[in-house]
């Protein structure tokens, strides 16, 4: 695709932000344009403005809108990606909350879970940590905006690309090979609940004061100022007092007034909900 008219791109990005709370500024506009190129060719549309009109007025607009978030966001993920935060969770957060976990399960949320690689990796990590032997159980909720990705997560069937960080031992231990790919063993899928949710417009899909920790990595980079504040509000409500929020490398609450206090753990910053918030 050649350089896209910025005004046409604004039509589209405004629509995406309005509809999904996702923002595209600066270089990310170019990335958006390049991701849309193949789809425009498929639909035989010659400009981003034509595509915007398609999304607003065409009889097939709703089905096109449904696939749009997956098309324009990075769904690149795989098992055991950036597991150091799992180590912090298991090594520091859970011991700190151990007293409260005698009578109830540990509750975690993987927000923006794509096709499930993150929550299932977390599930595997929790199994491997020996917490069950110590009498601690857990429940993992996992949500994503895109229903197709959620369906893939629920099926638990993965291709080679999702297993790129798995050595042979890990493949044998956690997956069952099938003709279409690798199926995660039921033991690791148990206790993980995957559901579709738009966190910008949650419509009650997350409960109040439910979670001990929320992992939301590389999702907030896609949302605008207003949506960012709204998602953080939602997390504030959904976390238990003293609960933890794990963000991606390029996401931060440091320059914002929120109910979270930054905590340094092994050189990384995580955010702890203030007890009184």
């Amino acid at each position: 695709m050649t350089a896209v008219d910025p005004a046409q791109l604004k039509l589209l990005t405004d629509l995406i932000e309005q509809r999904f709370g996702l923002t595209f500024q600066g270089i990310r506009q170019e990335i958006l344009a390049s991701k849309l190129g193949p789809r425009l060719r498929e639909l035989r549309l010659t400009s981003v403005r034509d595509y915007y009109h398609f999304l607003r007025f065409h009889p097939d607009a709703e089905s096109e809108l449904a696939r749009l978030p997956a098309m324009v966001t990075n769904n690149e993920t795989y098992f055991f990606r950036e597991t150091h935060q799992f180590d912090l969770l298991i090594g520091q957060v859970i011991p700190e909350r151990r007293q409260t976990l005698r009578d109830r399960p540990l509750r975690l949320l993987s927000a923006g879970c794509s096709s499930g690689e993150e929550p299932y990796s977390l599930s595997i990590a929790l199994h491997e940590s020996g917490l069950a032997a110590a009498g601690i159980s857990w429940e993992i909720d996992a949500c994503d905006l895109n229903p197709e990705r959620i369906a893939r997560a629920q099926a638990g069937l993965y291709t080679e690309s999702s297993l790129r960080a798995c050595d042979e031992t890990a493949r044998r231990r956690y997956f069952v090979p099938e003709p279409q790919g690798y199926r995660l063993r039921p033991k690791y899928r148990a206790g993980v609940r995957c559901f579709q949710a738009n966190l910008v417009a949650p419509q009650g899909t997350l409960g109040w004061s439910v979670y001990d920790a929320i992992l939301c990595r590389n999702l907030l980079i896609y949302v605008g100022e207003e949506a960012f504040a709204s998602v953080i509000q939602l997390f504030t409500r959904s976390l238990l007092p003293g609960g933890y929020l794990f963000l991606g490398h390029s996401e931060s609450l440091l320059d914002r007034k929120t109910a979270f206090a930054p905590v340094m753990m092994n050189g990384g910053v995580v955010y702890r909900k203030r007890e009184a918030a």
């Binding site: 910025p6 005004a7 604004k10 039509l11 035989r44 010659t46 034509d50 915007y52 009109h53 398609f54 607003r56 007025f57 065409h58 009889p59 100022e225 207003e226």
Partner: protein, 658 residues
């Protein structure tokens, strides 16, 4: 305490009211960045530069000062006259800010006004002035800048950067003298890269063996790469330097390392590898050729290396046969891709076609194709049918270079029920190079049971003259797959012809989902005969088709288009009004321009954007006046388009005070 969202709403509501300026100025100091940012946009639009200048002059309130500077910058050329007045202020800090803002606005006619400040007694002002003449590319500043290159360190640095930004070739000598031992060597090299003067090549190559640190070596290589690219005949100079470079072991080791390292920063890493490759090819650095050839053979994104060797073939030509016999298949593949061969070399290439490695055989196919020898067609067709995957692709590409007569050999690859990949490759060649002798086979495949083959067949059939192709394509409009229908539609449009247009126009009478594409196609082929029908059906269509009709009519441009678009401006659907305004911007006749001028204050940014774009064609004062307002628009996309239009309309649109 209200929330930022509430304060934003209040600001928007107040901005254009009686106390708008007060509200905006207060909001410039709001604690929330989102409110401040909006206030800056509004200040650029509704607050005069003199008022903003006063904010900048008040050094006690840093947040407000910064906001004032940002707003002045957003005002662009509109703020320039006042910024030039600020240059005469006794406060050096204010003068410095004005210079920095002028530089960022980049309004070139302001350059001469900065010259008297180049030697200002306050070093910060002098530095800002030097940077400004660089940004404003003020060539008349070069003599003073050359003197400053030998002055105070900070001014030296600024002067070097400015000379680079201006692209002053007379600076080459003084800049080269700073490399490699001066503390300013790196900026000097950066400037030499920007200047890219052919005269600098010899000096840069001479310095290269003396540079030891990567921090200087990398920018120096980048500079050499650019200078070679822009040089009309760099090879003699490079070949002369080659032996010395090749004999400098440490340098060769660094170059080898650069070629091998993955690019951590894509742009810089990629450019650096290109620069090294250019140097290797142009200077004939034999020891590094295998690494480049290997990269060409194994990395799909390294196709550019072939272009480098083709531009500088001399070095590789000497060693071609040696690399063909190399033990590493990557080297053999690479040299087959990159080196020159002529018809006398055919036996050499045929030998490579029997290489044990499929990748080398594929590269040999590619090299044979570059010879353009029709006699090679049967052998290439055979590879296309029976070769391994890489050979098939290369054979198809090679066949595509041969004459239409030679392509008759493809008949053997067009058997019904043939392998789909082979059929698609053969049909792709025939879609580029139609062959009458293969017509029957192509028509048969255009009705194949496999949709992908059918579509490829249609593409090849569309390149054949005669009514049989038209009939086939018209029949495909009723194909069971809509993708094939739409493909057929586009192919019909690409063929043109009265019969196709008549059929397409008639199809407007149907109300199925294909009609949307038919409208689009009629617009693309500027079918004047369809214009009246499109206008007549406008009222009875759904919104998506109505928008498509307006877009199609804007392409067809019937005589009544202006009137039609004017009517659409009043459409309650804002996207329809936007499209009409964009249509008027394209039309740009006198009436359209007069209408656009009246829309400059429209509440919708999309309409204002069309005004900003359309007025680049209006060579009268009203257009300039409107554009000077739109250049300060609250929507950055409108402001930047207005700035482009303003620059095109008149390079000196605001008066520079004497």
């Amino acid at each position: 305490m209200t929330s930022p969202a509430e304060r934003l709403t209040a600001l928007e509501a107040a901005a254009q009211g009686a106390n708008g300026q007060r509200a905006i100025l207060l909001a410039l100091e709001d604690e929330a960045p989102s409110v401040r940012d909006r206030a800056i946009r509004l200040a650029a639009r509704y607050v005069e530069p003199s008022v903003l200048g006063a904010l900048v002059a008040d050094g006690e309130r840093a947040i407000r000062r910064n906001a004032g500077l940002s707003a002045l910058e957003r005002q662009g050329p509109y703020a320039v006259p006042h910024l030039l007045v600020m240059l005469r202020d006794p406060d050096p800090e204010l003068v410095m800010f004005a210079l920095q803002t002028l530089a960022r606005i980049g309004y070139l006619p302001a350059g001469p006004a900065v010259l008297p400040l180049l030697r200002h007694r306050d070093p910060n002002v002098a530095q800002a002035a030097i940077e400004a003449v660089g940004q404003l590319r003020e060539a008349s500043a070069v003599p003073v800048l050359l003197e400053l290159v030998n002055g105070d360190l900070w001014l030296q640095l600024a002067a070097i950067n400015a000379l680079g930004a201006i692209g002053a070739p007379e600076a080459v000598g003084p800049l080269v003298a700073l490399v490699p031992d001066s503390v300013l060597a790196e900026p000097a090299v950066q400037a030499l890269r920007s200047i890219a003067a052919p005269d600098s090549l010899e000096a840069l190559l001479a310095v290269l063996p003396r540079v030891e640190e990567r921090t200087l070596l990398d920018p120096l290589l980048l500079a050499i790469g650019v200078v070679i690219d822009f040089h009309p005949d760099p090879v003699p100079t490079c070949l002369l330097a080659g032996p010395t470079l090749a004999a400098t072991g440490r340098l060769m080791s660094c170059l080898s390392q650069i070629l091998a390292e993955p690019a951590t920063d894509f742009d810089i890493g990629d450019s650096l590898q290109r620069a090294v490759a250019t140097l290797v090819a142009a200077a004939g650095l034999a020891a590094l050729e295998p690494a480049l050839l290997s990269q060409l053979a194994s990395a799909p994104e390294a196709g550019w290396i072939e272009g480098v060797f083709r531009r500088f073939p001399e070095g590789l030509a000497v060693r071609r046969d040696r690399w063909l016999a190399d033990a590493r298949p990557e080297t053999r593949s690479g040299v087959l891709r990159a080196a020159r061969f002529d018809t006398g070399d055919l036996p050499l290439l045929l030998a490579s076609l029997d290489d044990p490695e499929p990748a080398v055989r594929a590269a040999a196919c590619y090299a044979v194709g570059r010879l353009g020898l029709d006699s090679a067609a049967p052998m290439l067709a055979e590879r296309l049918r029976r070769g391994e995957a890489p050979e098939r692709v290369a054979a198809a590409q090679a066949l595509g270079r041969l004459s239409a007569d030679a392509l008759a050999e493809l008949n053997a690859c067009l058997e019904p029920d043939g392998d789909e990949a082979v059929l698609l490759a053969a049909l792709k060649i025939l879609a580029d190079r139609p062959v009458r002798a293969l017509e029957s086979a192509v028509f048969r495949l255009a009705e194949d049971r496999r949709p992908a083959v059918r579509r490829a067949g249609l593409r090849a059939a569309a390149r054949l003259d005669g009514s049989r192709s038209d009939v086939l394509l018209l029949r495909a409009l009723a194909d069971r797959s809509q993708a094939t229908q739409v493909e057929a539609l586009d192919l019909l449009v690409s063929r043109g012809g009265e019969q196709s247009l008549a059929v397409l126009t008639a199809m407007l009478g149907t109300a199925d989902s294909l009609r949307f594409h038919v409208i689009r196609a009629l617009g693309q082929c500027r079918a004047a005969r369809a214009a009246d029908k499109l206008r007549a059906m406008f009222g009875e269509c759904g919104p998506h088709e109505r928008l498509q009709i307006v877009a199609a009519l804007a392409q067809i441009a019937p005589p009544w288009l202006g009137e039609f678009l004017h009517q659409r401006l009043a459409d309650p659907e804002i996207d329809m009004a936007r499209l009409a305004a964009e249509g008027l911007a394209d039309l740009a006749d006198e009436r359209a321009l007069a209408t656009l001028v009246t829309l400059a204050d429209h509440p919708d940014w999309g309409i204002r954007h069309a005004v900003a774009r359309g007025l680049q064609s209006g060579a009268h004062l009203a257009s300039q006046h409107v554009l000077l307002t739109l250049v300060r628009d609250v929507e950055p996309v409108v402001a930047s388009t207005a700035r482009l239009s303003l620059d095109r309309l008149s390079p000196e649109v605001v008066r520079i005070p004497a």
